[in-house]
Assembly symmetry: C4
């Protein structure tokens, strides 16, 4: 197994998952637009657009980080293939959790749980990415393309692990307010995606 094909397959899954997000943006039915018009029906759907933007940027960032991480690798072993598959699974599930959150964010019933699942799915994704990095940097460092000092490898791993913390906080805060949870996830996406936060999105520093 070469890293080239590992990257190609991962790129494929991530590209499909990020593009499938659009299927969550439904066209309002004629029944929905009958009384208040199309503009109102679209406007009422704002959680759908917010969810699309947040998830699209987040998957885009994880794609960049994934590439930076895999490039360090000379050759994957079975554990890396497995951890990478778990990471891809956590990404492939995002169109579902995004749709769930967008559907229930404004409902009095289920809004806390839906926001917790949305943020929780991103937390799992961040954990999978940290586990992949940990295995590559600390468990099997002899498979890296270049030799890195233990200190440097630890530093890269801790930096990728710190990405877990804000999602854990966001998930916990779903008990208080689903809007706060989603706002944190959106803010993280914008912070990491915008060039100003580029240091944070590049775990290689």
């Amino acid at each position: 197994m070469t890293t080239a094909r590992l990257e190609a397959f991962s790129d494929g899954v991530i590209a499909v998952a990020i593009t499938l997000l659009v299927l969550n943006i439904g066209v309002p039915s004629f029944a929905e637009t009958k009384h208040h018009g199309l503009a109102h029906a679209l406007w009422r759907n704002w959680p759908v657009y917010a969810a699309f933007l947040t998830s699209f940027l987040t998957i885009g960032i994880i794609w960049i980080n994934h590439h930076v991480a895999i490039r360090r690798l000379r050759e994957p072993d079975h554990a890396i293939l497995f951890l990478n598959l778990l990471l891809l699974m956590s990404i492939a599930v995002l169109p579902f959790s995004t749709s769930l959150m967008a559907t229930y964010l404004k409902q009095s019933q289920g809004q806390h749980l839906a926001a917790a699942i949305y943020s929780g799915a991103l937390l799992v994704m961040a954990l999978c990415f940290a586990a992949l990095n940990r295995h590559m940097l600390l468990v099997k460092p002899h498979r890296l393309r270049e030799e890195l000092s233990l200190e440097r490898r630890r530093q890269i791993f801790y930096r990728s692990f710190t990405g877990v913390i804000p999602y854990a906080i966001a998930t916990a805060l779903a008990v208080v307010s689903p809007y706060v949870t989603v706002a944190i996830c959106s803010a993280l996406a914008v912070f990491y995606a915008f060039p100003i936060g580029s240091g944070g999105s590049d775990p290689a520093g």
Copy 2:
């Protein structure tokens, strides 16, 4: 991050988005064909086919232009990754805006707004592409593969920027007639796609 993987991921997203357009072409239900037959039910759906053709050609053209633009690059920086992600997002959204326009084009209620959103999404896509080109050509020219004179770089940027103008006009004209808006978008797709308009679709000249 290499331009090769940037291209591969962008190709993936664009290929999925262009192929997902077909999901908008629904098979008529038996209820729809009961009274006037299948031919009539299909015929009534003409905005769906027109929308499919226009969006497919338009995404195909942006794919060609994207490739020409990225090939000029030696190595992307974070701002280019971010601007490219915005461009991909504006492309990934097109199956939705295409479906919205096709659904509401013939409705008395919402047809102006739906056409404006359709054309407006293409306008945003053209703006993202121009912003990507501007950054590559005018802000970070030292990352280009070959050295180009300032005059040449400005010329390429302005040419890609002029692609914005017809979409801005088409969007504005949605107030007058949604059909005019869509007709302009279709005409642009055909003009740029057909070999006769190839000069225009190749911002590298």
Copy 3:
């Protein structure tokens, strides 16, 4: 534009289109299985499976032929990009025409038209492929990777053009019987796909 990226993008579109075919295979609803059970509900759906098999094999064959054709090319010009985009569009539309045919094949109303559209879509695909081959082999032979005699180029083009004929016959026969039309399309898929028909599926001879 390199042939490598032309192939990569074409591969992407074809891979998505061939895999989207599965979305046409619906899971029977509980209402459908209530009276006669799941086995009966699945059995009644046989046109859906026949359509899936036929379209999957046909797209698989066109993918092989497309690769053989593009490999002959040194570098695409704008006309080739355009003709290739038309070919990809004719492939991307197949999940729709497949679903249409499968839905209406057993209906007394619309079955002839649905079969004609199914076969007609494959005819258009074969015509697009022949047009691409014609341009590459007869209009711009200086862009081929290796020099081929006019006789050889004509032979390859005519061989790819003969693929059009059976689809034209199948489409015309939809007036007589939709089952005959679909049976011809299925037979062609099996004939070209099975190793025994490999001479026919490889226009490079």
Copy 4:
């Protein structure tokens, strides 16, 4: 035809199929959550999540095995392209069989058949993979990249063939209990995916 493009296309189909699995995870409707809440509605859907996890891991494993097998090849012939196309078809069908199983697993009517079809589809996939391996290793060994002894080639083939047996048993046991069938498929996915079962998932030994 090069193995590189065979791999690229296969990667594309497998990546789309594995990601389409998420479309089976539906968001509960407001009607479903009205009386017992969202948590209950999600919980009742557990077969959907179990099916997603099992199919995702299984497709991930077949992707790894496919890559290992194709890498042995110097150049594919038409029979390999055909057998590979059959394998891809058996993978592309899994989002359907997965959804069928998840929908009917808890229904008194159809649960045995749905589980048999789910396991049977995986059996067909394992058979297609064994047939591809047989052709490459035993029928056309001169197309392999490296020369391998007959004994070694037989050993690799038999190892890949033994993957068929547990799926045959699982399919047969659907007569007794659909839960046992699905549990076997899930256990196989976990066994092969986890690093501890890596010997089994790597037919190259």
